[in-house]
Symmetry: D2
Subunit: 371 residues, 4 copies
């Protein structure tokens, strides 16, 4: 079996999530490639060494370019802060190596455009970490839609809200800077837009409204110094899909009570489907002719679930979605994929978000193709 040497850049929470996902994908799936944890990079050499040992990587680098150049590395995984995605991914593509980059693809649409062009030119597999799409329940929803089980899709109502910035005393962070892809739309809403596209395809036009509610925040926890905030706290929009469906999207990080409320309802001529990521192992479904909604619990009949549990109702967790993402990537690298989000698709998500920003700023309907 062919080897696939993993080179992972970044040792934060998401770096560890990748390390676990690579390991667990190997253990729970019969993968067509033999994954090896070849190299780990962190700017801090000591941390790089420590994490490499603890997570099972063979080599540690403090210079990420050396990881990319390492001949044992056949896949470059990027989990660093958002503004570093661009240089790292471009370097990996220049080296002709497949790239697995955390979301968002980039911190500007211009960067994203260069990245997708570079990926096209390199001709390698790319992936961006929109791991929520790998939830087996989401895959089932997508299948239902594609098979026509819901009939013609006429409406999508989506929301991704949390409350981690609801307290005006929650301090400034990089998430409050547009140049780091901050704001509710970029941070949360992009997951929702990616999901909308994953389920229903292209969006043709948008109209939107967005607001900054708390115009300043403490520079750090308890700090008397206030920093001005320019990014959006909430956004509401209208979408027109190429398939004729219409809908709404909302995203807020100020909505008390919500912790992971990526939710949607999809209305079709043959049924309604609803999902809320705060209960990620469930779908609510009402087919035409049925008296009411039924609750579906994830089980081994779903794609991917059986690898983790032989019995329904034994819920998958957030981290296992990452393992499923790695599996899809490996299958694709082996020529057997896949519906994962590549750079081209991630650019589409960025372009859609950009169109929403323009629509909000100019208070008009905007064609996505204008961007």
């Amino acid at each position: 079996m062919r080897e696939l040497g993993i080179g992972l850049i970044g040792t934060g929470f998401m770096g560890r999530a990748h390390a676990l996902a690579f390991h667990n994908a190997k253990a729970v799936f019969d993968l067509p490639l033999n994954l090896t944890l070849a190299a780990l990079a962190d700017a801090d050499p000591q941390r790089a060494r420590q994490c490499a040992q603890s997570w099972g990587f063979e080599t540690a680098h403090s210079d990420w370019q050396r990881l990319i150049d390492d001949p044992k590395v056949q896949l470059v995984a990027i989990t660093t802060p958002n503004h570093l995605h661009f240089p790292m991914a471009m370097a990996a593509l220049a080296a002709g190596k497949p790239v697995y980059c955390e979301k968002p693809l980039a911190v500007s649409l211009e960067q994203a455009e260069q990245m997708r062009q570079a990926a096209k030119a390199a001709g390698v597999v790319t992936r961006v970490g929109y791991n929520y799409q790998h939830n087996p329940m989401i895959q089932r929803a997508r299948e239902m839609i594609q098979r026509g089980e819901l009939g013609q899709i006429i409406s999508f109502q989506g929301e991704f809200s949390e409350d981690f910035m609801a307290d005006p005393a929650s301090p400034w962070s990089w998430r409050c800077e547009a140049t780091h892809a901050g704001g509710a739309l970029a941070d949360l809403g992009s997951h929702l837009l990616a999901m909308a596209r994953h389920l229903l395809g292209d969006v043709e036009a948008v109209c939107a409204d967005s607001q900054t509610v708390h115009l300043q925040r403490p520079a750090s926890v308890g700090n008397a110094e206030q920093r001005a905030i320019a990014v959006d706290d909430q956004v509401h929009g209208l979408l027109r899909f190429a398939n004729g469906a219409r809908g709404t999207v909302s995203s807020s990080w100020l909505k008390h009570g919500y912790k992971n409320h990526l939710s949607f309802e999809i209305s079709g001529t043959l049924g309604t489907l609803a999902f809320d990521q705060e209960r990620l192992n469930e779908l609510r479904l009402c087919r035409a002719g049925q008296p009411g909604f039924q609750r579906l619990l994830a089980g081994p009949d779903l794609p991917g679930y059986a690898a983790f549990s032989p019995a329904a109702g034994h819920q998958l967790g957030y981290n296992e979605l990452k393992t499923l993402e790695v599996q899809e990537l490996v299958m694709t690298l082996a020529g057997e994929g896949g519906s994962g989000t590549d750079f081209d698709e991630a650019w589409e998500v960025e372009r859609l978000a950009a169109a929403i920003r323009v629509a909000a700023r100019e208070e008009r309907w905007v064609k996505v193709s204008e961007q």
Copy 2:
């Protein structure tokens, strides 16, 4: 105690609902006026007589103008088809009598404008039957908002969807004619717009999208003849409230699984509040600092509830909202009201709906004051 003679026009489902509501309001509340069921009118003299006897009215008329002229009638209640609201209400106002008209106020904004002017000129109490607002849970929600318990309101997401037209074989009816105030926006959405205004006040601008999904329907059940349909099956919109809140509205009569899904979530800087009329005795609330949503069940601490039941959790039904509506009307007639929807407010609802139609047709943001 002063007498209040009720004159009721119409003997359909809504006519009976009014008759019951007048009786029950008298029995459950200590009203400041002595209600008497003075006269009932229906174009069919036999039905008028029959219903008058069965529902306890003193007189029956087949000519509604005679009911209006009847000196025993001090309040004219109108429950006839939508296109008759205008002539009947105008006649009652011309006679200087208070009017209690079912929603919608009229079948065009022009009619609505004349009606509110006539009401203003007549200087009498008017009410329009947006009975969902009289739900004690809604009154509690409104109080919470007005007292600032949710802080500054920043977002409203509302929906009113049902599925009674979801089957393309559901036949044409007057609800499919714009000239009878048909379509999902007028039939269902107007309740939602009225609710949004009841809770958050004026809307300044709107943007919207609407669709007719099923372009023809059978002329009647099982009829091979098809009629062309021009009214909207679904609408989605963005709202900007005068108080600074932003939001979305959606309405559909094609959404499988929903029967009475007038729902909203209101996000404020101090909490989130959610309601779904399919569970009309419940609110979900999360205040700032609380770990999650709590469910509130209607109980005798709510305005109006105690008249019906001394114990919490013994749910009120749809018909009791009508009884509460009558109570508010009677209190207002006695000079002790009231937050009910008068012709002026009902015109505002119609104007808002008209703005949404323009916004959808012209694909642009529309100021409500343009209408």
Copy 3:
């Protein structure tokens, strides 16, 4: 159409509920008898007169025996405190008049036994106010069971819990006296036992455990004087039904958070059915072969619902269950009934409760037929 003169004893909350139910039943149903509100009795003559006028009764009595003797009264409705049910019902039966008595039938099994014998001897229709059974959703559940839609019934798990006595400072009341049919089992649990019998039929044997948690309570609100409490605060039991099903019952008035939690789950070889009276317009159902539970919302397809609303999802309230109870009674009086609870069935409920008390006291399985 034959007249049915109603004589109502008692003017408390339940008296008014009866008065409304008689009126509304007449308005919403095509009844085979012509109901007239003949007479109202209350020991206080002024209150009797006042309520008679306000509720529309022709005559007022301060002596309930005179109401029973009133030739215009053809049905005696009893809504007085529990210990008065016995003398009033016995007098009405002695006069050969049908009786509609609030639950519980009596304050001792001995009284109940005399009452059912007297009813049998009188040969008149009797009814006891277990109005929760008249919920159309419950009628649907019963039909499903009787038609075999759930297959062989194998398990019943029932609970009726509220929290109105959860605070140890909630004062003593007649509900705390066994001689007034007090205690959680008698006050709440009897509804659950009646429901279990209504749905699944006879219970053959029981085992149970009961407790008084708060052994004394203030004599009245804020009173420093404490009274000893002997009745049960909670009870748990096992049931063996004659049809082979087994199950559990629980009842408590100390359970924080519950307001009207009469709930059950019924498991059959072909499906599971669940109900919670805090959402009285809903059932949860999973049939064999279905992937999960579906929610059924009450609608006009249910027996009784359509009289109140032509559309699904427009919930019935607690008071309308009373109207439905009156309808069943009137139909039965006209010879067209009915599955209502008569004195014989109410005695069965009392006997079952008595068996549970013995089982708890003697710590053993008890055959219901022992009582």
Copy 4:
């Protein structure tokens, strides 16, 4: 840091779950011992080798005794069929090695008794895989109870039901044999009993009822040959806890619609707490004085959660409960534990189940200490 060599016996679903849990515990926690995957045993030498390589074990054995004797093995983990737990655990204890055995401890109370005596004699750490207890939400529930946040606990109502045997065509398996710890009580109910003890402590007396509904099943899927079934399909019982609380337990593998319905409600004088394992990241809680239940979503404030995710609402899955179980075991081995289930506690669970069986058979209350 001291090494801890893991020896794992069994390569089925549960063997893999252990392998993953050991790996992931090392990656997500700062453990005080250095875990090494020393040896894996399976009777099939080829499978042993294959799994060892794929899961990262250093050595493979086809004879489990050799694994126990392997000096590199300092902890013996047993994931084989139930009837093998006894000989393997006894051998490991004889070798003076800590044991981590899957539930149930044994297939008879006699075996369980020998095992706990052997553990006591050996003086080593033992653990049994009741992993549901390691759910951070359950740990939070336990803390709340122990800190008195719910006041005096007065009631426990527990259920563990699934539907995997609901179809009478579901074939015979070892789960249908009492000698393999089969039946709904042993297979599912033991989890519930362990949970009840984990949360509320000792049970003093029980009364119960159990039934075999389907008296025969196909020998295998689609097989015309039927085998007689003697184990219980469902059980209902009453519990008396040593702390004074009373309650009910139910377990069934015939209950349509349930997949993992280990649920409980605990009523205390200061609050009610509810849990359903089909939503394992949630608790419902109503404290005295609060108007209704609130939903708590798991988050990093809970013990153990933060190791997996820094944000609330990013649910843990079933497999992560196993990782948490391993963490507790390792902490205990390092002298820093722990509330895990050791052989003594697992024997208590078995004794409680045995008491329930006697109570059902002899139709009487049974003191647990009789067993």
